[in-house]
Symmetry: C2
Subunit: 579 residues, 2 copies
């Protein structure tokens, strides 16, 4: 856009498109509020002052006006929502910009998955920024659907709206000087490089930071966050559906450090987005925990904008995008009006924009399972001494528990009495026939099985169950839907949510996704499940980059110092990919 | 440099080049200090911790270790020093990085002037960053030696070490939507654009900021600085040789604003650099005025680094450049050891590096004056009602004083009794024959004349004098030297400093420049001059972008709302440029 007309409006010599009059403006530069009229032209803020002439004037009557919220790190696929529906979920919450790392869809469909999201994003009243996924696949310990090579990263870094390289989960690769990993970081020189370094400390942390990593969102302890801040990483304080670190890390936000801190969501389910909120929920909770409201807003606006170099976002100031929220009370932070580029897109928690009908493009039919008999789910008795994966409620780390298998009829079987259930991961990209088998504690199922094609990072089919028959039906149910979530009892579907887009995203409206998710959780609870969000927990059990013990299609993985397979899958057959 | 070896040192698995042991490290991220050993490899910091193995270890015994200072805005030509000698002056003061706007040399020699500095800079142990000059010439109200076109700016923006566009002095051009000016700003989209907007407020300030300007260093009042901060400009707090704004603006630096503030020098004479210091002098004074020492250091290190996006500068942290200073006392801030990329380059105020001998390249012989008779300096009696330029001590603004000319023999003459002296500006780039004539109050000369080829922004020859004979000799003296400063009495040279490089820079060592400057100031004082730095004052009298009244080769300029010529030069002749 040419600057001339905007400048003319700023000078007060041409009418604005819109004036938000009598606003109490939250100034994220000075941490104060000021009163004034905000003139908007061509989607941007022209000025703050006594502007009067506009095609439309809204009298805010002293309500607060703040910049739209910016989520500095999220995987939007975690919502299971198509981008259009994701926008419907987050915009009414005041989120107008999202920095997303399309790690999940890239693991299934590579660059074409990313292009799919990018192209839809262009049609939405939401700024989507993409970090080039650095670790697809994150490790060789599971089978992914695609690889994002250094060459692909170079391509993505040339796209618009790409601030840099996404979370470098392969911190062992960095620390060990793996040339391939370092090459990827080097490609992003002069750009932002996000980190992911759970528990890293001392010289290993030095080594990781020395490579040029700029942030971390994996701190779960005060001491860990403090050291990472000290070494120069931006502290991304995460409060998602699975990981909640706000209360622990908030004391790190002081007069001296707050500009190096930001709030992020990382992973948030569709239900949480609708029922609790998005970034607004974090801001609200931070304020309730004692953070100054304007500072809380800064951590969700100007701070991510500065870190990611999102020019023109994060403040109510001349030349900035008119991404704005209006609210009544800074302490009970509830965005009412939401403007995107000067256009009212949500009010009172409701989206006001229409979205185009969803089409799957080339991303449907991505589930390719090699046919297998139910006997392939048997765990031979000789594996009775394998450790058990133990779920840690409210966290994505797991514990490695001492062996506790029940053996019956020459095989290891689920034991609902001691809550040691069977866990199965079936490779679903290349029909290799890989099936990982293990045991998990913490779900509480007394009967039936749950299965999902959302299984970080490679998104094979993961299933937990009380018996093989239901496990088998659950995996088959996911395959039949070409991706999705399912709850099974006695071989029958109790509830299901199809995710036909890459096996990750629904093509249904937000409301339907939530209804089906609720049905799934009700079904799981009826099966005896004691976890509040069993499918989210399930989705992380195959993630071999977070300690301590995981199951992938290749086998049981011990994710300690040097992640390794401790019980390898016996491959039933190994066919080439049908693609 | 490959990252692998640095990472190995960071892990403690390979020896460092240098360990600075038992340091008390100033952490510019957290605003605190911490104790540790700093391992350096390949000019970069590998890590902080209990590192022990290195080719060289320096035991700091608990002395403070801070990042090298970064000057976010300066015109190095103001020192009159060649870059090699400038480096000798500032490095012992702890300045290891300088963001310079080569506005002066570009006004004389355009891109070739900038290339000259850039190419010398590569040979120095100092980071020089260049802002592409946005306003060469700044106005059409004087004759410059060169023009920097939009095309040139595009070229410079592609150079390495160019963070963006230099101070946009043509704020009227921006506010009035001048297409040529806006084009230049647009070229720097996504980069840093420095501002220069003395006194701008309200809607005009909105208009200026809306164009994408990011900073301002011209605030001279609390209220002005406060408004600029509020509108989103970084507040560059200037403390130079001519303008001293630190004391006035320091109260603006609070817990809520300090990250948006930085210290800059803008213009500092060689004598001040040697006798008072560079950025260290500002930091010292800020601390004396009550600013927390670590915060003062932040305003001179990490804050400019973040604003200009100078990755890897401004902190003692893994991966950062080993640009470091060592000092004993944070309150009496006096850098002792200075490291550049891990190499000791100064100690105890002395430079330890050798510089190559200075060569003028193609930049000598830039003074081209059309021959003129002494009568050309006469001011006809009919101009007796012209206003008088009044010097404001310690500031570069001037006042427009009521007419006060003494008329004698049919012409306006200097009057030492009322301290109304004659001011002359002789065009010296294209031998146009332009001679601007006017009156100035505040120098106090009782006899003789002073002349200089340093005359912002176009650097024509400016002279102030008590009589025409000495004025004439002074201008001729500068021409003969092909640039420089001179003090004249009775037609004879009392003292002189040749500036053969573009008429702006000396080819002599720092010490000689200072000795000669001192002689010049002594000579001026003997002539009755009451100003402490008369040549600096003189150099700003032709600057038609700062209020209120100026003299250029084209005539007397009223620099109020819309700068205009109020008494135009009668051109004696108008020959084409000899170039």
């Amino acid at each position: 856009m040419s600057l001339g007309p905007l400048i003319k409006v700023a000078r007060g010599e041409a009418p604005a498109d819109l004036i938000l009059a009598r606003a109490r403006i939250v100034n994220t530069f000075t941490g104060a509020t000021e009163r004034g009229n905000v003139a908007i032209y061509g989607g941007r803020i022209a000025g703050i002052g006594d502007y009067k002439e506009a095609r439309e004037t809204i009298d805010l009557g002293g309500r607060f006006l703040a910049p739209g919220l910016i989520d500095g790190h999220t995987h939007l696929e975690s919502s299971l929502l198509h981008p259009t529906q994701y926008a419907r979920a987050v915009l009414p919450r005041g989120t107008t910009s999202v920095v997303t790392d399309l790690h999940e869809i890239a693991n299934v469909s590579g660059l074409s998955g990313m292009r799919y999201i990018r192209d839809w994003a262009r049609r939405l009243p939401l700024d989507l920024f993409f970090m080039a996924p650095s670790c697809v696949p994150a490790t060789g310990l599971e089978t992914s659907g695609a690889e994002v090579t250094a060459r692909d990263i170079r391509t993505v870094l040339r796209w618009k709206n790409v601030p840099g390289l996404g979370e470098m989960m392969d911190f062992p690769g960095i620390i060990n000087g793996d040339e391939g990993v370092l090459e990827k970081v080097s490609l992003a020189r002069g750009r932002v490089v996000d980190g992911h370094a759970p528990g890293l400390t001392g010289k290993e942390l030095n080594a990781y930071v020395a490579a040029g990593i700029g942030s971390d969102h994996e701190s779960i302890a005060w001491r860990e966050g403090e050291e990472k801040l000290r070494r120069g990483l931006r502290l991304m304080i995460r409060e998602g559906s699975s990981e909640k670190n706000l209360e622990t890390l908030l004391p790190l936000v002081t007069d001296k450090t707050y500009k190096r801190c930001l709030f992020v969501v990382d992973d948030r389910t569709s239900a949480d987005l609708v029922n609790q909120g998005d970034m607004d929920a974090i801001v609200r909770r931070a304020i309730r925990l004692g953070l100054d409201p304007i500072r809380a807003i800064q951590l969700a606006t100007i701070n991510p904008a500065e870190y990611f170099r999102l020019d023109g976002l994060g403040a109510v100031a001349p030349g900035y995008a008119a991404n704005l929220i209006v609210l009544d009370d800074l302490h009970d932070f509830r965005p009412d009006l939401v403007y995107y580029r000067g256009r009212l897109v949500a009010q009172g928690g409701r989206a006001l924009f229409k979205v185009p009908p969803i089409k799957g493009g080339g991303l449907t039919r991505t589930v390719h399972v090699s046919p297998f008999p139910i006997e392939a789910l048997r765990i031979p008795a000789e594996r009775k001494d394998d450790p058990v994966i133990e779920v840690v409620p409210g966290q994505i780390v797991t514990r490695k528990r001492e062996p506790a298998a029940r053996v019956s009829g020459g095989e290891v079987v689920a034991d609902t009495g001691t809550d040691i259930l069977k866990l199965v991961v079936v490779e679903r990209h290349r029909a290799t026939g890989n099936i990982g088998l293990g045991l998990v504690a913490g779900f509480g199922l007394k009967d039936g099985a749950l299965a999902s094609s959302v299984a970080h990072d490679s998104h094979n089919i993961v299933a937990v169950g009380a018996n093989d028959r239901d496990l088998y039906a659950a995996v088959n149910g996911v395959e039949k839907m070409q991706g999705g979530l399912v709850a099974i009892r006695a071989g029958k579907v109790l509830a299901a949510l199809p995710l036909p887009i890459a096996g990750l995203l629904s093509d249904a409206p937000l409301e339907e996704v939530n209804n089906r998710l609720e049905s799934l959780e009700t079904a799981a609870a009826r099966l005896g499940c004691t976890l509040p969000a069993p499918f989210a927990v399930l989705s992380f059990l195959a993630l071999p980059v977070i300690p301590e013990l995981r199951l992938t299609d290749k086998g049981l993985v011990d994710v300690s110092a040097a992640p390794r397979l401790i019980a390898q899958t016996r491959l039933t057959e190994n066919r080439p990919s049908p693609a």
